[in-house]
């Protein structure tokens, strides 16, 4: 924050060469899926981002977001359009990753082959190395 309460942008410290437009995008789903379509919206957003074929998209289910990943195995708990979006993302070769520690602490299991399970440390590295992070 600068003088007069205004923000001053000094340097973003990021330069992208012309023609090098490939972006690593991490979409983070971290909240409970109950009484909201927010997590479904996150997956819809991920589907939309695949339109630009150069983008490399990862969808990361962390913390309470793993309930969304687990609900794919339980039809009664599925959110609106969630399975449809997952099918589409699978076709588009988007990585869907759930946090191992979050699953263990919540005693959840994921049986869907589309979703891989990785430790928190690996997911943290994916987030820190992403060009664009979109948390939901």
């Amino acid at each position: 924050m600068g003088d007069n309460g205004k923000f001053r942008i000094v340097d973003f410290g990021l330069r992208i060469e012309r023609g090098d437009r490939m972006k690593n995008v991490a979409i983070i789903i971290r909240a409970l899926p109950f009484n909201t379509i927010r997590n479904s919206e996150a997956l819809r957003c991920a589907v939309g981002l695949t339109i630009e074929e150069e983008n490399k998209i990862k969808v990361l289910f962390i913390d309470d977001g793993v309930f969304s990943a687990a609900s794919l195995s339980c039809p009664a708990a599925q959110e609106r359009d969630l399975p449809k979006h997952v099918e589409t993302l699978k076709m588009m070769e988007v990585e869907l990753i759930a946090e191992e520690e979050a699953l263990v602490s919540r005693k959840l299991k994921i049986s869907r082959e589309e979703i891989t399970i990785k430790p928190r440390q690996v997911i943290n590295e994916m987030i820190s190395s992403a060009d664009v992070v979109i948390p939901f």
Partner: protein, 109 residues
């Protein structure tokens, strides 16, 4: 430099003011700025909301604003309810913004 921002929270959230000030600073610094509004973020450019005047000011200064038509429709927000100049768009525009931006920021809940 092109700064693009995704805003997904409604006007009462402090994110709106932060985004307005960031975009103002970027424009004053000679950068270009684009905003994409999604989920409750679409309410920021509904004419009835007072804060929309400030977003209109950003557009006057050169910022481009687009919103997700799907989430706007789900909230009963039509193109006629929004500021003129706001692009009633889709996820394709968001994908383009992500690719074109030198810096992409997300302000969500």
């Amino acid at each position: 430099m092109k700064l693009c921002i995704l805003l997904t929270t409604s006007p009462e959230d402090q994110n709106s003011i932060v985004v307005i000030k960031l975009v103002q600073a970027a424009l004053e610094g000679g950068h270009t700025a684009g905003l994409f509004l999604m989920d409750d973020g679409v309410y920021n450019v509904v004419k009835k909301n007072k804060i929309s005047i400030r977003f209109a000011g950003l557009m006057t200064k050169g910022a481009s604003i687009a919103l997700c038509g799907h989430t706007a429709e789900e909230r009963g927000v039509g193109a006629e309810d929004c500021l003129s100049g706001v692009k009633y768009a889709g996820q394709y525009e968001l994908a383009c913004m992500v690719n074109e931006a030198d810096r992409f920021l997300t302000f969500g809940g």
